[in-house]
Symmetry: C5
Subunit: 88 residues, 5 copies
Amino acid sequence: MIIGTVVGSVVSTRKNENLVGNKFLIIEPLKSMRASESNIVAVDNVGAGIGEVVLVALGSAARIGCGKEEQPVDAAIVGIVDNGTELE
Amino acid sequence: MIIGTVVGSVVSTRKNENLVGNKFLIIEPLKSMRASESNIVAVDNVGAGIGEVVLVALGSAARIGCGKEEQPVDAAIVGIVDNGTELE
Amino acid sequence: MIIGTVVGSVVSTRKNENLVGNKFLIIEPLKSMRASESNIVAVDNVGAGIGEVVLVALGSAARIGCGKEEQPVDAAIVGIVDNGTELE
Amino acid sequence: MIIGTVVGSVVSTRKNENLVGNKFLIIEPLKSMRASESNIVAVDNVGAGIGEVVLVALGSAARIGCGKEEQPVDAAIVGIVDNGTELE
Amino acid sequence: MIIGTVVGSVVSTRKNENLVGNKFLIIEPLKSMRASESNIVAVDNVGAGIGEVVLVALGSAARIGCGKEEQPVDAAIVGIVDNGTELE
């Protein structure tokens, strides 16, 4: 998993029907966890908002244990990080 | 997922038979979401066209929920992004 | 998927028995689709040869729909690209 | 798998319920095994602690054989490395 | 798959019980196949030794067809490369 900050959201009216109901957030990984320019889009599972530091699961993990087994998603916010400031 | 712009298409007459019927588009990821020179080829699920900003699912997610479980694809366009301009 | 040129082949006498019968080709991704120095080895599904421009599926997709479900492969040539020159 | 040093831990009170009970550690890959700035977060399976050199499985492997098949995790510490010093 | 040279081995006494019996080798990818500093650890399936040039399967492929379906491994040596010198 990686840790990043929620920096934006994505609006998509026309999309795969299995994706309806998801909130798509843009994550900027912590500097220590990124190559340059490597923001990603993740679906939200925990009620995250802009500016929060979150834990993101990548790949098939994003569909496991989240009730999203039939959704074409490859990144999911799976936790809010309490000690984000000290991890910067 | 990543967001990118559709910049071209791929023509392939001789291909795996499970791929017949797919439209293959070339995606240039948004600058904030790419390493340098990292275009990819994705199959289209939503009727995207050249110049549109799209949401792309990568890895096994590209086969899930899209009726492509038996196709050798690793990237799929799963949404058209409405607010692409502000995400540039 | 990515697009690349077949630039060589790999000979392996001693290998996993499930790999017997495969042709292993070395793919150099198109400049627009690669980080520097990122050639890969892919098994051939479509009868590709040296110098041809091909479509390559990565990850678990390489085993799907190709009759290779029980083979330890992570990259497969799944199409010959007709318009490779214009994509360079 | 990669080898890295445990350099920190992540606290997350609000998280996916399937993740409850996990210890989340931050791994800094060995210099020979990383691109720049590529720390990751892994769940601990072997009782690792800060400063230890560990073996980390990535992707779906992190859920296999660890009793975590239903957890959204993509990286797991699966061994303590005895000869870490000579591998630096 | 990628091709690399076996440059070392990993000793791990305390590890996931499903990993017992594996030999862990460090692979340095061929220059044409690597980003800088991107060695990985792979389990050996073919009896490879230090200095040999090998074919390595990555991701879920490392568990397929190798009798390792229940092991947390993400990279496996699946062949010895005969023409490694000419591929350098």
